[in-house]
């Protein structure tokens, strides 16, 4: 198997899911399973309407953290490639926030590694969300369920 494709990006611009998938499958015929996860801005946070979301990150550390997370996935599963893209800046409801895509000969590895990437990204990548609500802006609290989800993969 050729060296796996690894593409990580932290960007303000939107991304094109189809183009990112093509990175993993184009010019080869050995991929059997391609999984994507796209995270989107929701127009509610719990019961509160959300009109905008500001995503702050830690330039420098963010790229390193996402690359480490992607390399962990490539080390743990037989993947032909992984893409991790995370946006920052001002986003509106229905905007895309994050993309994870994984390619493998078999579906279980593609599914598991995509879930792993999202779980680790949620707990290890230095991003912070601030929601605009009718009562003003508020920082989103971290969720214990995200820590629990990440813990099932063990330590890296």
């Amino acid at each position: 198997m050729a060296a796996p494709v690894l593409h990580v990006s932290v960007q303000e611009a939107d991304f094109d899911v189809a183009a990112e998938c093509a990175r993993l499958t184009e010019g080869r015929a050995d991929v059997g399973a391609l999984v994507t996860f796209t995270g989107l801005v929701r127009d509610r946070g719990g019961d509160v309407p959300v009109s905008a979301m500001e995503l702050e990150h830690y330039p420098g550390m963010t790229e390193k953290a996402l690359t480490e997370i992607a390399e962990q996935a490539l080390a743990r599963w037989p993947l032909q490639g992984a893409v991790v893209i995370h946006r920052y800046g001002l986003l509106l409801p229905a905007d895309r926030i994050v993309l994870v895509a994984t390619a493998s000969p078999h579906r279980q590895a593609a599914f598991e590694s995509a879930e792993f990437l999202m779980d680790w990204l949620k707990t290890r990548a230095p991003f912070w969300k601030k929601e605009t609500t009718p009562d003003g802006a508020r920082w989103v609290d971290a969720r214990e369920s995200d820590d629990a989800a990440a813990a099932r993969w063990g330590r890296g």
Partner: protein, 81 residues
Amino acid sequence: MRVLYFAWLRERIGAGREEVETSAPTLAALVEELRARSEGHALAFDDLSAVRAAVDQEAAELDAPLRNAREVAFFPPVTGG
């Protein structure tokens, strides 16, 4: 040493970045020095259970040694994804 703040720590301190002269041996000792800098700093570090840190862009516990760190960052638990 460069000290960075993110999210509500940045807002409480009123700056995302400052240069700090310190010989603090650990992150926890550095936090004590930073607390004394202003009311904003004291407020930002009021509840350390809500504060996470990185040393030279690697996640670190508050009892981590600082050694020759060039960049320390403080921030709330991350909420990306």
